[in-house]
Symmetry: C2
Subunit: 198 residues, 2 copies
Amino acid sequence: MSQGDPIAELVSLLGRLPGIGERTATRLTFHVLGSDPTYARALGESLAQIHGRVKRCTICGNYGAEETCAICRDPRREAELLCVVARVPDLVAIERSGSFRGRYHVLHGLLAPLDGVGPDDLPLHDLVARCESDGVREVVVATPLSVEGEATALYVAEVLRPKRVKVSRIASGVPHGGELEFTDQITLGRAFAGRKPL
Amino acid sequence: MSQGDPIAELVSLLGRLPGIGERTATRLTFHVLGSDPTYARALGESLAQIHGRVKRCTICGNYGAEETCAICRDPRREAELLCVVARVPDLVAIERSGSFRGRYHVLHGLLAPLDGVGPDDLPLHDLVARCESDGVREVVVATPLSVEGEATALYVAEVLRPKRVKVSRIASGVPHGGELEFTDQITLGRAFAGRKPL
């Protein structure tokens, strides 16, 4: 197929999505071509408009259709309990688990000095301001258990140290259903270090 | 997230693509939200416009940006040698293999009486007309080696029997790199039936 070909163009654009290689992109393109044009238009318009229709909550950074998100507007959610997450999908996963009834603070990133992401690139001043204005009692830091996630968690704790706020970190250990045999050394080390009386 | 939510809408639309479940659709949606809006708009517009920009070649049924496709317009492709395929992706795979230098005839389907697809739903009259007008010598039937593909191949041969056209079928056998141990009985049977002198 020649350049400027709409099929090649769609294959190339789809192929830039994570986990979608050229083969899958080609298969999806032919699937779309072979199915209802109404569907292709609906999907296309939804994609083209998504950035315009989705706003970041001005309080916590969660995505939503309005200025503030549904969680920040919900009076039943405890305002004195905050959970710090790196990305909105992490917030969605925590919501799905039903294990947290407070509100969130989404960093939209992690400290990564090598990639040029420093403390000023994360909304940490907003976090401190929220802790003061909302009388926050506890901040649970639920950044990933990776090097960058851990560094960011330590930095959040450091920033909040002068405030009257308890800062906690989600537990690290062997996951549910995990086999000890196939668990990495660092996780096993954390599982032992974090052991609790039975 | 509530109904009418643009995120939920995009997840649902992406989740209708083959091989993309709700988890992947969610991951893709957040990826798009986290990346350049220009990309989301380009992909969206490409999808929304694909049906309007892609035409079926009036001669062979291949996709292209013009009334006739690049292969039918190419004077170096033998017009007397036709390859019948079920779908355009099959044509693309054959082109990629470089094993055929003639032209194509795309059926955009296979005989499937149970699904209500009969001979009149496939462009077989066009195939006969092309054989007559272009002085076609040979028609290679490259429909899939499935029940429906085989039935369609036999029907194509039947339709062309009154014409002075050689009709052939692509070979069936053990694929390149295939282990005999893991090859199904039907394929092995075909490999033996189609054996050639060394």
